[in-house]
Every structure is written in structure tokens, then in C-alpha cells.
């Protein structure tokens, strides 16, 4: 082989390796981009893919992990809009249709209210935030408690009852630091909601004002300082979501705020005993959120993709959302088997408040660490 041949060979191989997507382009392939962790990728590969391919054998599902790098793929799809180019993306599993700004106005995303999905009407309305996103799995912070120490009939259902219960049972409640995990973080945010008239609309992504907003947060911190002497330790805060679950598992505390999917997983795997049950505050729930699927209007296989979206919202898959990944179903519980619905009835979200990120995150972390954490020295 002379030098020129070697060179052209190298180029050919490099070109092949650089463009596997283009080289293998396939009209019958549906490209699914996943933002979630490996459990979500496994869920699509092992649960959704076989069901879909059985129902529509003419198509194959190509599950691609995008992890935290979804923005360039969305940009690519946007760039292909209005051209003949196939963006090689049919569906995103978890994506905010408001990004990039203007995408909705340019008609990038399918409007699901007009897409004619059979299962669309079964969706629990509280989970719907936008017409351009299709919720299919959710998680929310709930209270996990040990039924061997606390009768389900006596479980607090409001913030005031919760505080009264903590004061009557000192050392039996633990929550983790707001910077290390959302279960403690959203417990702290619930206190802030409580101190501000239980009105989540007061907190928006763009309305943080230094000083003024800090005063609102400080009122929430006062409530937390009030309960600090009655928490585990007293005044000790676990370092992540999992440690709170472990404290519950070791019987150290009776109650802790937990992420619903983490806790359900822990119960399914036997990390948490069967005696653990869940409750949600009824005056205002803890914050949480749903993963929204989005479908670009220029998807190569738009009709087949909408059939896929319909299957993800079907009862068998939504049931698996609960049993396999421990998340909330997006469809209302009445469309799922009664047995399952009863088992997780207490987890049923009546509302899912949200709390914005951005500057609020740093204000809450700094404020909590400076005022609440040192309040009770152990």
C-alpha cells in the first residue's frame, strides 16, 4: 500500500466513524433521545421498545442517551425546521418545550391537544403545564413514615399538624440539607411557602429581588428554626436524600421527606421495610415535577412517533412507570388497576407546586446554612 492509498483509506474510515448516524440512516427507525439516568434508558429499552415493536413491527426504536447535553440536539432539530433535512430526532423523553426561546412560536413542537392521541384525555390535569409537552412520569417529595410507630390514621395532613407532631415526638423527624438533595430542599421550600401564605405564585424564576425576597425566605427559615430543636440530633441534617431513607430504614426516625420515586424504589428493593407508608400534605403539597416528552413537527416519522407517545401513555406502560421506576403515572389513577391505585393512593398528587431555580437556589442555600443550620448546636 502506498502513501496515497493509506491516506485515502484513513480518511474513508474516519468519515465512516464520524457519521454513524448518517451512514445507518433508516426510514423505519424512530430516534428517541433520553435525558434521564440509566434507569430511564433501561426503561425505554426493556419496557417500551418491545411493546412498541410488537404493536408496530415495521418500525424499530433507537434509544439514544443525551444525558445533560440535549441543547445541541434541540438546536440541530430547530436548524432543520423548514428544510428538507431529516433532523434524525423523533422524540425527546424529557425536554422543556419553552427552550430555546421562540421554538413554540416557530412551530418546532407538536401541539398535543391537536395531535389526536387516544390516551391524551386520560392524563391527570394537574400534571399538564404546556400543550407542547406530554408528561409521562413524575416525582414529588412526600412524607415517608413508619407505620409500626405511627398509625396511618394519625399522620399529619397539614403543615401545622406536622409541626405539632414533631413537637410531640422530638427527634423522630429528619430532613437533609437543602443543597444536597431535593427531598430536604423541597421541605425547606414548603416551609417558605407556608410562611408566605401558601402561595407558590409569589416565587417566579424572574422575580427574585435582593433584600425583599430574602425577607420572604427568612420568614420560612423562622419556621424551620422553630422546629430545629425537635428534629433528629437535635438540629442534625443528613447529607443527602439516601441518608434520610437509611435513617428511616434503620428505625432511627419515624418520618422523613423523601422523593417518591427513590422511596418507592427503596421499598421495591427491600431497602425500606414494607411497614413504610407515604403521605402528602393536603393544605399544600411538597414541590415536584413531571418529565415532559416533546416531539418536533419535522420528525422523520411523525405519525409513528405519535403512536409511540400514545403507547407510553397506555395503561400497561403507565403501570410499569410506577412499578419499574417508582415514578408517578401521568394518567389519572382511575385508568390504572384498582389494586395499584389503592396501594399508592396516598401518593396521588392533588397538586404539584413548583419552586423556581436561578437566584432563589443560592439565596435559599446561603440563608438556610447561615440561619437554620447553626440554630441548634449539638
Amino acid at each position: 500500500m502506498n502513501r496515497r492509498q493509506l491516506l485515502s483509506c484513513t480518511f474513508a474510515i474516519a468519515a465512516l466513524m464520524a457519521a454513524p448516524g448518517a451512514a445507518l440512516a433508516d426510514a423505519d427507525r424512530i430516534d428517541v433521545y433520553i435525558t434521564g439516568d440509566s434507569n430511564i434508558i433501561n426503561f425505554w429499552n426493556n419496557v417500551i421498545k418491545p411493546v412498541y415493536e410488537d404493536a408496530h413491527p415495521e418500525y424499530t426504536l433507537n434509544v439514544v442517551s443525551a444525558r445533560n447535553n440535549i441543547a445541541p440536539i434541540v438546536e440541530r432539530t430547530m436548524a432543520a425546521l423548514g428544510t428538507e433535512t431529516d433532523p434524525q430526532v423523533d422524540i425527546f423523553d424529557e425536554n422543556d418545550p419553552n427552550l430555546p426561546a421562540g421554538a413554540i412560536e416557530k412551530g418546532l413542537w407538536v401541539d398535543f391537544t391537536e395531535a389526536g392521541l387516544v390516551n391524551y384525555d386520560k392524563i391527570n390535569p394537574v400534571t399538564l403545564e404546556t400543550d407542547y409537552g406530554l408528561p409521562y412520569r413524575g416525582t414529588q417529595v412526600v412524607l415517608a413514615y413508619d407505620t409500626s410507630k405511627l398509625d396511618p390514621a394519625d399522620v399529619p395532613t397539614t403543615w401545622d399538624e406536622l409541626v405539632a407532631w414533631m413537637k410531640a415526638n422530638p427527634g423522630e423527624f429528619v430532613y437533609n440539607r437543602p443543597d444536597t438533595g431535593g427531598s430536604g430542599g423541597n421541605f425547606v421550600r414548603r416551609a417558605i411557602h407556608e410562611a408566605n401564605g401558601r402561595d407558590p405564585s409569589l416565587f417566579q424564576i424572574d422575580n427574585y429581588v435582593e433584600g425583599e425576597s430574602d425577607a420572604m425566605l427568612a420568614q420560612g427559615f423562622e419556621l424551620l428554626k422553630d422546629i430545629a430543636p425537635y428534629t433528629y440530633g437535635p438540629g442534625s441534617y443528613t447529607a443527602d436524600n439516601m441518608q434520610s431513607i437509611q435513617m428511616l430504614a434503620q428505625g432511627v426516625v419515624t418520618m422523613a421527606p423523601v422523593w417518591s420515586d427513590m422511596a418507592l424504589n427503596a421499598v421495591n428493593k427491600g431497602v425500606l421495610p414494607e411497614t413504610i407508608a407515604f403521605a402528602q400534605l393536603q393544605d399544600l403539597a411538597f414541590a415536584g415535577g413531571f418529565a415532559d416528552m416533546t416531539v418536533p413537527t419535522n420528525a422523520g416519522n411523525l405519525d409513528a412517533t405519535l403512536k409511540l407517545a400514545d403507547i407510553v401513555l397506555s395503561a400497561p406502560i403507565q403501570e410499569k412507570v410506577v412499578t419499574e421506576i417508582g415514578a408517578f403515572p401521568a394518567v389519572a389513577w382511575e385508568h390504572l388497576p384498582a389494586e395499584l391505585a389503592n396501594k399508592y393512593a396516598a401518593l396521588q398528587p392533588a397538586s404539584i407546586p413548583t419552586f423556581p431555580g436561578g437566584p432563589w437556589v443560592s439565596a435559599i442555600s446561603d440563608g438556610w446554612f447561615r440561619s437554620v443550620a447553626p440554630h441548634v448546636e449539638r
Binding site: 443543597d179 442534625s236 447529607a239 437509611q246 446561603d366 443550620a373 447553626p374
Partner: protein, 298 residues
């Protein structure tokens, strides 16, 4: 293992490069020196510069505001003070624990010594995140120790978990092999003959330790202490997982300040203060190494 010397690996190469006549020696040190300059000295200089300047109306201005905030902020000072306290307690505990083990390993000739050495070096191979969760399982509330105590009819112990003692126990366990190796290396310099000579004239064990062994390994102990302290100041995983929310050690504090509080200037200020404290101990180390090299060459 006792052949491990406390002299840093780079020192020998550097000496040869400086004294060598061939340019190849200089070329060999050029790569590590460039790396240190580019990846450590330059970013550190940038950080220090950032903490000393503010954007004024006429561009960058010199300002000590970041340091004024740090040294008047009770919260930051408490975190710094806790870190110093934990580092001091850990260093004392490490020296007190590793000295008897090292003495035993140096002067014992039984087969048991080999096993004890393997056991003492075991923590070297355990990632600290595993250690943290294992400690929660054993020393945490209702952990293995509590279960044993209750089985024996004794009350449960007050758990170190989520108190400053949590990271202290973890850090001592984690740093034991390093300290032990350094002390062992120092003990290699103590000849058996000198101990036997002392014993012949009637010196007791404590007298031998105090008058024969300790003076010979004083430099080594200083080196061990400075090494351990440098590691403790930058410790993150164990203080983060086992320590209290407040006060927190500098490692978790710096991470939280830059990631959660989103205040890079304060995070850098915290880093520079920590760095300055560590530099004092690094100076001890460098001086001790320099002195022992002088003694060897003279």
C-alpha cells in the same frame, strides 16, 4: 515497605537536572515544571488576583473587601476554625496511633507483624465514599455497634454521625496508612545497635523512646504531620457525608459557596486563606527535607 523514603520523588530528578551538564536533564524536568506552572501556579495566581481586585468605575481596582468579608464573617470563621480544630485533633490522633504500630512493625520479627502491617495499610485501598457509608452503618444510630451494645444489655452510644467526630474518625482511618508509612521510613534510620547499647546501660523502654528514638525521628514526625494536615484541609467526601451541616469544614464550604451560593470570589477567598494556612505547613516540610539533605551531604 520500610524502604519508602520521605524524600519527594521529584527532588532527586530536580537536583540532577540543575547540576547536570547535558540539556536532556533540563528537558526532562521541563515537562513537570511546565505542568506545575500552567495547571497550578498560573490558576492560583489568577485566583489570588481575583480576590484582590474589584471592578470600579476606572476598571480594575485593588481591594481587600473579599478578605475583609471573610475575616469579619462569623459563619466563615467558624468553618475555618472547625477545619483547624479537626486537622489538629486528627494529626495528634494519627501520630499517637501510628507511632506504637510503627515501633512494633520496625522491631518485631514475628510473622504476625506482616499481617498487622497489611491490616494497617488496608484503608489505602478503600475509597472514602465507601468508608463513609460503612461508618454510618457501623457507628451510625442503630448501627452495628449499637446492635451489639443492646445485645449485651448496654445502653446505645452517642453516635459521632453528623457531629465533628464523624469526619474525625473517618479521616483518621483514611490517613492512617500514609502516616504509618512515613513514620516507618523514619524509624528505619534508628539503628538497633543504638537501642541495644542504651538497654545495656540500663535504660527503660520509655527512656529509650524519649531519648534515643524520638530525637532521631523528630523530622519525620514533622513531615508526617505536615503531609496529613495538607490532606485534611482539602478533605471533602468524609466531612461532607459524616459531618454536621454547620459548622462545616472548608472542603464542603468551598464547594457549596461556588456551586450553590454561586459566589466565586468568596469561594476563591476561602481557597486562598486555606492555601495560605497549608503553605505554612508545607514550609515546615520543605525546611525539614532541606535540613535532612544537608545532614546527609555534610
Amino acid at each position: 515497605m520500610s524502604s519508602v523514603d520521605a524524600t519527594p520523588i521529584g527532588a532527586g530528578a530536580k537536583a540532577r537536572g540543575a547540576g547536570g551538564r547535558r540539556p536532556i536533564g533540563l528537558l526532562l524536568v521541563a515537562a513537570p515544571v511546565a505542568l506545575v506552572l500552567g495547571l497550578i501556579i498560573w490558576p492560583v495566581a489568577l485566583s489570588v488576583f481575583d480576590t484582590l481586585t474589584v471592578h470600579g468605575p476606572q476598571g480594575l481596582e485593588f481591594s481587600l473587601e473579599a478578605y475583609r468579608f471573610f475575616f469579619t464573617d462569623g459563619f466563615s470563621l467558624r468553618n475555618l476554625w472547625l477545619t483547624i480544630r479537626v486537622a489538629a485533633i486528627c494529626t495528634v490522633l494519627l501520630l499517637v496511633i501510628s507511632l506504637p504500630i510503627a515501633l512494633y512493625l520496625r522491631f518485631s520479627e514475628t510473622r504476625l507483624a506482616g499481617y498487622i502491617q497489611a491490616l494497617a495499610l488496608f484503608p489505602l485501598f478503600v475509597p472514602s465514599i465507601l468508608l463513609a457509608y460503612a461508618l454510618i452503618r457501623t457507628l451510625g444510630p442503630n448501627g452495628t455497634v449499637d446492635t451489639l451494645l443492646v445485645a449485651a444489655g448496654l445502653p446505645k452510644m452517642p453516635t459521632p454521625y453528623l457531629t465533628p467526630w464523624g469526619p474525625i474518625i473517618g479521616l483518621v482511618w483514611d490517613n492512617l496508612p500514609l502516616t504509618l508509612l512515613i513514620v516507618l521510613a523514619g524509624l528505619a534510620n534508628v539503628s538497633r545497635a543504638s537501642i541495644e547499647a542504651a538497654r545495656d546501660v540500663g535504660a527503660g523502654s520509655l527512656t529509650i523512646l524519649w531519648h534515643i528514638i524520638l530525637p532521631r525521628i523528630r523530622g519525620t514526625l514533622l513531615v508526617a504531620a505536615s503531609f496529613v494536615i495538607l490532606g485534611l484541609f482539602s478533605a471533602f467526601t468524609l466531612p461532607y457525608l459524616l459531618g454536621p451541616a454547620a459548622p462545616e469544614m472548608m472542603g464542603p464550604f468551598m464547594r457549596r459557596t461556588i456551586i450553590e451560593v454561586d459566589d466565586p470570589v468568596q469561594a476563591r477567598t476561602q481557597a486562598v486563606v486555606t492555601f495560605a494556612l497549608c503553605a505554612v505547613f508545607a514550609l515546615f516540610y520543605v525546611r525539614s527535607v532541606a535540613r535532612s539533605r544537608r545532614e546527609q551531604t555534610s
